[in-house]
């Protein structure tokens, strides 16, 4: 049979497919689609409400079109909150990636001790961020805190922790790192354990040093997994709210006023939802583009790691 005939015979007329078979894809994706619609409705509503003067205090609202957007983009406080957002995200993500990857590499050997440590290291992940802040506030309390007592041994008294402009970011990053490093640890550890053994055995036979093995084998093959961890942590860090709000509510001054916190206070405490939304939508754009970039890089690295 010729290829053309074969191809003609293989062409299916869509309308000849039984209806129940044609409807099958819709039923399969219906639950996911409903959830997606449920997510998209508030998103679309947010875009619309950002063009209004919607406030919980006002009995009605009206369209003010781009007024909220212009006010946001010409407000120095917005750029300050953007800077705080980026600074916080950078500091937390870098520290968590370095610590999480380092600890994962140290725990890769399957011994009884490493198994115990793996469990212990995941404990902070089980603590809600607001509770983590409470724990750290008690630990860093100048009156009764265990960390304060520890610092007293070294002659440091009344360390300001989150009470000072110069140490507030450090304190918030410290708490965030304590809570979220285990997440990076688990992902990277899973990646390490899924790496093929043969390249490493070959490297060992050839007498490669530990550093050489790490640099040329482990790290390149681990990068796709690290990028996944980086993606999740960076997106979360850009949106961070709970830790900062529970710790200082953005203070002292405006030191920790990132976009999320600024928008929350504007929307719910000052009750100006329409005014708050442009900042959040801009944050969404930033996160969206960052995630697209990281996902693209991760796919490329995954292919490279597989030898493509």
């Amino acid at each position: 049979m010729s290829t053309a005939t074969k191809k003609k015979d293989e062409t299916i007329n869509y309308n000849e497919i039984p209806r129940n078979v044609r409807m099958r894809p819709y039923f399969i994706i219906a639950p996911g689609l409903l959830i997606l619609i449920g997510i998209m409705i508030p998103f679309a509503a947010a875009i619309v409400l950002s063009l209004t003067n919607y406030s919980f205090k006002l009995p009605s609202f009206k369209f003010v079109f781009l007024k909220n957007w212009i006010n946001t983009l010409t407000d120095a406080a917005f750029y300050h909150s953007l800077w705080v957002t980026l600074k916080y995200a950078f500091c937390t993500t870098v520290s968590q990636m370095l610590l999480g990857t380092g600890i994962a590499l140290l725990l890769k050997k399957d011994t009884k001790f490493s198994r115990i440590l793996k469990v212990l290291f995941t404990f902070p992940l089980m603590v809600a961020p607001a509770i983590a802040v409470l724990i750290w506030q008690l630990m860093t309390s100048n009156s009764i805190g265990v960390l304060e007592k520890l610092l007293n041994v070294f002659g440091v008294f009344n360390f300001p922790w989150a009470a000072s402009h110069s140490t507030a970011l450090f304190t918030a990053v410290l708490i965030d790192t304590w809570v979220n490093t285990p997440f990076v640890l688990l992902l990277v550890l899973a990646g390490i354990q899924s790496l093929p053994k043969s390249p490493f055995e070959a490297a060992q036979v050839d007498g490669a040093s530990a550093w050489f093995t790490f640099k040329t084998l482990t790290l390149p093959m681990l990068k796709p997994f690290m990028y996944i961890a980086l993606l999740f942590r960076l997106m979360a860090a850009l949106q961070e709210f709970g830790i900062i709000f529970a710790l200082t509510k953005g203070g002292p001054g405006d030191t920790l006023m990132n976009i999320s916190l600024t928008a929350y206070l504007t929307a719910f405490q000052f009750q100006k939802l329409g005014v708050a939304l442009p900042g959040l939508l801009i944050l969404w754009v930033i996160i969206n583009f960052t995630a697209k970039f990281l996902v693209g890089r991760q796919r490329k690295l995954a292919k490279q790691a597989q030898g493509y």
Partner: protein
């Protein structure tokens, strides 16, 4: 081909559902303020006269028809507080007496107003009754969410002859009256709520600390306060400090001791000028007060001042870290009940100092009140809740047997039971008596209260941390921000 058709259909469906839902939300006719059954706002004296007339014509509580709304259900929202605990403990009694079922919810204060704001804005009528402070009622009443309780107070069918409205502490009542005009002081207009408790601001001090430092008594003036702070450095070992005051980045930092002191220095937050509300934060009086405050925190405050809410301040007072605390009397006293804290039994009270000896001290004011949702579908049944839980009997029981302080009725303050209860709290009642006549809400009511006071607290934090070249510079910057916040208010 199949995948192409599927994608097109899905995309169309998604877009259509988004557009329809958003269009439905926006095309809904804008909600109008709830039709209120209240009488138009009257002045305070007229309202008082109406209430007196109603009480004279009313039945006493034994003849009152408490079962009139039997079978109704009302929803009440509480904030987590000793006042709520006192009410909740008696809800079963209320239900038995009236036959009205109460569905209650309790929310921590940090989240409470977010929840209430969204509930009230839905105009669903849920909750029927909610707890609120006076400042929040300025916002809510402006939006038409709050029922004027004068409707019920002036109705002889809805009040009892022995309710004794005049027994409620006058400043507790007037703080919850506001005519809704930004810039107008409280004390006139609809009765937006009835108080469950209130607090005034006094100086709580550790008598042991004073005795050990050779200090005769509490400071009468602000200069004396500074001198005492110098004497009380590390009074109880390293880490202890003289004076606990709130410093967190929210309105709660401004309204207690700070605002009372602000007023004592003769400063004002806003004034009406040329048809606009104008911030006066950079006035000479305000700058002088803030220069003093900066000095006070540096010489007497905690190293972690900018993180402190009243929880941390009170904990430090009780733990023997802070020798003094200028804050709510109802909070500081909780550290002095027998066994309540390490320093229990060592705390005494005095009025807040003044600028010049002989001046009368003043205090700002906070109340947790009950307010009624203007959209409530059970207003009469909800009113019975007010009637029961702001009555003399309940106030006496909750304040004398419980810890619901400060009591909102003068008769409770003067009762033997209350005086006996407060015997172990030296100076508490005296400080109250010296201060109460000059106690009122010292802020200028306006609908951007939370925005302006949060900016105020943030600026104080920056000022204390040396982020500004001078206090004048800080106050000039703050004035600019506050003027911007209230720029759309016109008279």
């Amino acid at each position: 081909m199949n995948a192409c058709i599927l994608k097109k259909r899905l995309a169309t469906l998604l877009a259509a559902s988004m557009i329809l839902s958003v269009a439905a939300g926006c095309s809904r006719s804008a909600p109008t303020p709830a039709e209120s059954s209240t009488a138009p706002a009257t002045d305070a004296s007229q309202a008082q006269a109406d209430i007196n007339t109603a009480q004279e014509g009313a039945k006493d509580s034994t003849d009152f028809d408490w079962k009139k709304y039997e079978g109704s259900t009302i929803k009440v929202s509480f904030v987590q507080h000793a006042a709520s605990d006192a009410v909740i403990s008696k809800i079963a009694d209320f239900e038995a007496k009236t036959g009205i079922k109460v569905e209650q919810s309790v929310t921590p204060e940090a989240n409470y107003f977010d929840k209430i704001s969204t509930s009230l804005s839905s105009r669903s009528g849920d909750p029927d009754v909610f707890m609120s402070g006076a400042y929040q009622l300025w916002d809510y009443s402006t939006a038409g969410y709050v029922e004027d309780l004068n409707t019920f107070l002036s109705d002889p069918e809805m009040i009892t002859s022995d309710y004794d409205f005049n027994d409620l502490v006058p400043s507790a009542v007037s703080a919850l009256q506001w005519d809704g005009i930004p810039g107008d002081a409280v004390g006139n207009g609809p009765q937006l709520g009835l108080p469950l408790m209130f607090e005034i601001y006094t100086l709580a001090y550790n008598t042991r600390a004073f005795a050990e430092a050779g200090i005769d008594g509490p400071p009468a003036t602000y200069d004396e306060l500074l001198e005492i702070c110098d004497k009380l450095q590390n009074w109880n070992g390293s880490g202890s400090y003289p004076l606990a005051m709130r410093g967190a980045r929210d309105w709660g930092t401004i309204h207690p001791g700070y605002m009372s002191t602000f007023n004592n220095f003769g400063a004002k937050d806003f004034a009406k000028e040329d048809g606009k509300l104008v911030s006066k934060l950079n006035s000479p009086e305000s700058v002088k007060m803030n220069e003093y405050f900066l000095d006070l925190i540096k010489r007497g405050g905690s190293a972690s001042w900018s993180k402190y809410t009243w929880y941390e301040c009170a904990a430090d007072l009780g733990a023997g870290k802070a020798a003094m605390m200028i804050d709510a009397d109802a909070v500081t006293v909780q550290q002095n009940w027998a066994g309540a804290s390490q320093e229990a039994g060592n705390i005494a009270w005095a009025p807040i100092p003044v600028v010049t000896a002989g001046d009368k001290t003043s205090s700002n004011y906070w109340t947790w009140a009950l307010a009624m949702n203007a959209s409530s579908k059970n207003k009469e049944a909800a009113w019975y809740f007010f009637l029961y839980f702001t009555s003399k009997d309940f106030c006496m029981a909750s304040s004398v047997d419980g810890n619901n302080l400060d009591p909102v009725r003068t008769s409770v303050w003067e009762s033997d039971g209350f005086k006996e209860k407060m015997k172990g709290q030296p100076g508490y009642i005296d400080a109250y008596n010296e201060t109460i006549e000059q106690t009122t809400i010292l802020f200028t009511p306006q609908p951007y209260f939370f925005e302006t006071t949060t900016e105020w607290a943030a600026t104080l934090q920056d000022m204390i941390a040396g982020q500004y070249g001078s206090v004048q510079e800080a106050m000039d910057a703050l004035k600019a921000k506050m003027d911007k916040s209230v720029e759309d208010i016109e008279f």
